[in-house]
């Protein structure tokens, strides 16, 4: 057994330094307050908050979630309190911790993305931005931000001009060639990419003959999607020089390690928080003890080390 002191979990995402690679996935951790009862937020690599927009959004009508085999569909519709309320009411709470805050955001037009990024860039206590170009629950047409390489390039480069914070681009898995989309984000100036957002799915209640979600389709997350996510992380890792943040079905330390072996610099826990609100800290502990028992000194040595 290696010496306790030798497991170094630190990772960098652009300028941003994390004490360990475990973050929360946007939309599954609120603004941190509800989970502070279960875990010590200081222990997290980073907190990624629920996706924000310039103005508050009501979101979709209920029902918004449906369970599926080893997964769930959601069509929250990016309900959020808006940037101003976030800054006033939620950020002060998060500022107490020694954990970086990453703000996930989106817009309904390139102009809105740009305006939002500019505004967020000026706020103390926000350490990085994650731009969501990949929500499956927006109106038709919105999806081009995350599926049409030209639009992706445009929106990311415009946002890039507005911020010197670490800029993470959150990619959609609903594409033919994920590595291509990731390269486009890199070329447009992203400091990191995060993936996967949810896979577009649908479920129907055969008794009522209605879709289980009022929004008809929704985003599939949870363990069910893990094999797709791991494959996509691996494909992106091989073709990028910026870090990849992996997510999709992570519930245990073994899941997180799988993503790191596939090339993830950091990982995020989404649906896993619902299954066990202590999931994130258990995963951090588990990664550490895996490294100790395997004699792996730095998490960097684990990254992308799958033997193919």
């Amino acid at each position: 057994m290696a010496n306790k002191k030798t497991a170094d979990l630190k990772v960098n995402l652009g300028k941003l330094k994390l004490k360990n690679p475990v973050m929360t996935a946007s939309g599954t951790f609120g603004y941190g307050d509800e989970y502070s009862e279960f875990i010590d937020i200081n222990k997290l690599g980073a907190v990624v908050v629920k996706g924000l927009s310039l103005k508050p959004k009501e979101g979709n009508p209920p029902p918004r979630i449906a369970e599926t085999p080893a997964g769930m569909l959601n069509a929250i519709g990016l309900q959020n309190i808006g940037i101003d309320s976030f800054i006033k009411k939620k950020l002060p709470f998060l500022r107490q911790f020694k954990t970086p805050v990453i703000v996930n955001f989106f817009g309904d037009s390139i102009a809105e993305y740009v305006k939002t990024a500019k505004k967020l860039n000026a706020i103390k206590g926000i350490h990085a931005l994650e731009m969501n170009i990949s929500c499956p629950n927006k109106q038709a047409g919105w999806s081009i931000f995350g599926t049409d390489p030209k639009v992706t390039f445009k929106v990311v480069s415009e946002v890039r001009k507005m911020t010197d914070l670490t800029l993470i681009v959150k990619l959609s898995p609903n594409v033919t060639d994920i590595a291509l989309m990731a390269r486009v984000a890199e070329d447009a100036g992203a400091d990191a990419v995060s993936l996967i957002n949810t896979l577009t799915g649908m479920a129907i209640d055969i008794k009522t003959k209605r879709p289980k979600l009022a929004n008809i389709t929704g985003g599939l997350s949870g363990p069910a999607v893990k094999p797709v996510a791991v494959r996509m992380v691996w494909e992106c890792y091989k073709s990028l020089s910026i870090p990849v943040i992996g997510m999709g079905g992570i519930i245990s330390a073994a899941d997180a390690i799988e993503f790191i072996l596939a090339g993830a610099s950091a990982v995020a826990v989404g649906t896993g928080n619902f299954i066990n609100p202590e999931a994130t800290v258990n995963i951090i502990k588990g990664i550490k003890s895996f490294m100790l028992s395997e004699g792996i000194k730095s998490i960097k040595d684990l990254r992308g080390s799958v033997k193919c």
């Binding site: 509800e34 009862e37 085999p69 080893a70 959601n74 928080n273 299954i275």
Partner: protein, 262 residues
């Protein structure tokens, strides 16, 4: 006192077809739930079913938690096969229960079907209030006589429910809301001296709320919605209210009856 804890199954008894009374023994000290609050229960070790299931607290007995549930799908089906000694993981108590503590009014409880699960918890708690306790009237509806649950337990706390069944096999024939309506008109109750607490299937709560609004009867209802987190973070469990979408797991499950937009 973390609200995440494990509990062992003390008993899991089928009361009538598909209806079970589950008694759990928490493996550590937990926060005491209020009537109307709920717990999220894991039902399986594997990853399907994935999400925990929300169940209202039915009864607290000597440190044990009791839940009354009906088998409706795969999760409750797996739950129904749990045996004494099996371990479940829970989160709770969650949400806001029935606000009854300061009420000076006469209390009308309305329980449709499995709605008796939390309503019994409330009735039992009310029964323990030292005199002068507010008088309690309980309307209980079910599809058939067999499905009228908790009769003996209600008797033991001194409550004699006004029963109605869809097929008339016990109590009045008809739905519980029309029985209540008749009662209100027949006795021309001074509604401002009464307060309502209800739980039951959505159609019942919907027609109950029309009745309540029409009669200017104030009160609270406990709602259900599919849930992922139970903690207020996923925004999955909202219902529409006159103040916008509200989370059943956080602002609810108990809402003022007049707030809900059906």
């Amino acid at each position: 006192m973390s609200r995440l804890f494990k509990a062992s199954v003390s008993e899991n008894k089928e009361l009538i077809k598909n209806h079970y009374l589950l008694t759990l023994n928490p493996l550590k000290k937990i926060k005491k739930p209020e009537p109307g609050q709920f717990f999220m229960l894991s039902v399986d070790k594997g990853l399907d079913p994935l999400l925990k299931r929300p169940l209202s607290i039915h009864r607290l007995t000597g440190g044990n938690l009791q839940f009354l549930y009906r088998v409706v799908g795969s999760g409750t089906n797996i739950l129904s096969e749990k045996k004494t000694g099996d371990i479940l993981e829970l989160i709770g108590p969650l949400g806001k229960g029935f606000p009854f503590k300061k009420t000076q009014k006469n209390i009308i409880l309305v329980a449709g079907g499995l709605g008796i699960a939390p309503i019994f918890a409330l009735a039992e708690t009310l029964a323990k209030i030292p005199p002068p306790a507010p008088p309690v009237l309980l309307f209980q509806g079910a599809r058939t006589e067999d499905e009228v649950l908790c009769i003996d337990k209600l008797k033991s706390i001194g409550i004699d429910p006004i029963i109605s069944t869809d097929n008339g096999t016990l109590g009045e024939k008809g739905n519980i809301v029309s029985v209540l309506k008749k009662y209100l008109t027949r006795h021309s109750l001074p509604v401002n001296r009464y307060i309502l607490y209800a739980c039951g299937p959505e159609p019942m709560l919907k027609s109950l709320s029309s009745l309540a609004i029409k009669h200017k009867l104030k009160g609270y209802i406990a709602l259900e919605q599919h849930m992922a987190c139970g903690l207020g973070t996923c925004l999955g469990c909202v219902v529409n209210t006159i103040d916008g979408y509200k989370r059943v797991c956080k602002e609810g499950p108990v809402f003022p009856i007049e707030k809900i937009v059906w």
